[in-house]
Symmetry: C2
DNA sequence: GTAGTTCGATTGTCCGGACATTTGCATTGA
DNA sequence: TCAATGCAAATGTCCGGACAATCGAACTAC
């Protein structure tokens, strides 16, 4: 196996990034089979005309992604795993769209309200200060799927109802220059109340999947707090957790 | 602010790790307040008698943990976030114990069975090959909390019923030298069947929180597959998702 | 044959330096 | 007054080298 690797030094793309992308593509494509050794770093660096730290940086980024494993004294090998693409912090809208489900959104509420104690604590703003409140019904194939209630700090972005119905909240945030970083989520279940049941076309007492989430941007600011309710027959959460060492 | 930092060069602990631990402790302890600059890398390196790459490695590890943010041309600052400790891949047993709940386990089944198609696919073993099957009832304060059904590949570790009742599965795996790396989880909800209801002291049709998980070690091997059912009144999932870039 | 030892291979850690890129601010100019 | 320019500061990228720690396998001794 002679893996074709090359870097373009005239490109503004960092060299280590070029290399890591090529390696990732090779793994994804099957050119590098699970369990196979990657060849030692020194030789790889020499072959590409790069220094060892640069090669290490490329490899390390793939190790962090869980695609490679390094073993001292042995070498670096491709992980032997079914899981190719770790699931990340995702948007329900994007999830549905990439699943080919043609999502639709109906905005029920889009207003500004004083923050309750709960919302204020989650967003890190003063109690009774103004926050956006939006409530949406998310549908797929015309069937209700989830009821979404979100709160956003003021002056973060302008929430146009038409835009909210055309796309997802995360996408609007990214478009407004907000870099999402992490989210703290709580997932539970409970029986539907009468009003919830009606909104979601379920019966009273039917099990609902609930999710509460606070999303943070890269500066650690809370940019969104939400309480969502999903129909468990239509949706379940799928994600990958990594051990942090 | 004169943060006290020092490294011990005679220690076998890597220098970058010593530094990152001290910085993390300072953030946790409040000596470094959110939003405050960390001082530039060059000066920090000089003060500690370290090279810049070593200091960068320490800082980078904290950036990966979400505690710091770097901005080119500005500096490195402490993240302004309520979330101090990102939740990691956790064990129900440990969760309960650290919450002071004195967990107990009752082993219902502990045997070896041929792998069904579903189990074989999850664990990456041949269909009908031998796998361990354990079913456990997890209690807290004497109250049933969850019903856990797990499958493990053979010859991974010996599953002693007494040990299983004394501690959690993850802890047994770690003690056997298995380095857990990641887990793919699916969380959903549904109504309890009659037998499930009886096991968990719920009523038939009551909402249950369900979780399916495949856990991988650092070589990418699947080391555990499980189907769990939780009483939503007693337990909910709380975790933090990071955006992977 | 088996257990212990040695040795080569490979990654882990660390250094000191160089230049590029981006940011924020002060200065300058219209 | 306001916008454009220039400058300093900080992180981003990259280099080439050095030594340490660990693993696996071949080898040796019993």
């Amino acid at each position: 196996m002679e893996l074709e690797l090359s870097v373009d030094r005239s490109s503004p793309v960092p060299l280590y990034f070029q290399l890591s992308q090529q390696l990732e593509a090779a793994i994804e494509h099957g050119a590098l089979t699970p369990g196979s050794l990657l060849g030692n770093e020194i030789e790889l660096a020499a072959r590409l005309g790069l220094s060892r730290p640069t090669v290490r940086q490329a490899i390390q980024s793939l190790v962090d992604k869980g695609l490679l494993v390094r073993r001292r004294g042995v070498g670096t090998q491709v992980v032997h795993s079914q899981v190719k693409r770790p699931l990340e912090l995702s948007s329900l809208y994007d999830d549905l769209e990439s699943a080919g489900q043609r999502p639709a959104t109906k905005v029920i509420v889009n207003t500004v309200v004083p923050a309750s104690a709960e919302v204020a604590a989650a967003l890190g703003v003063a109690e009774d200060s103004d926050v956006h409140r939006i409530e949406r019904l998310r549908l797929a194939h015309g069937e209700p799927m989830a009821y979404l209630c979100n709160f956003l700090p003021p002056a973060l972005l302008d929430l146009d109802t038409a835009q909210l119905e055309a796309t997802g909240l995360y996408r609007l945030m990214r478009a407004a220059g907000i870099t999402l970083h992490s989210a703290r989520q709580t997932i539970g279940a409970r029986a539907a109340t009468a009003t919830e049941a009606e909104r979601l076309a379920e019966e009273e007492g039917a099990p609902l999947l609930t999710m509460q989430r606070v999303t943070f941007d890269d500066t650690g600011r809370a940019v969104e707090y939400g309480t969502h309710m999903y129909r468990p027959s239509r949706y379940s959460f799928e994600f990958q957790l990594l051990v942090r060492s």
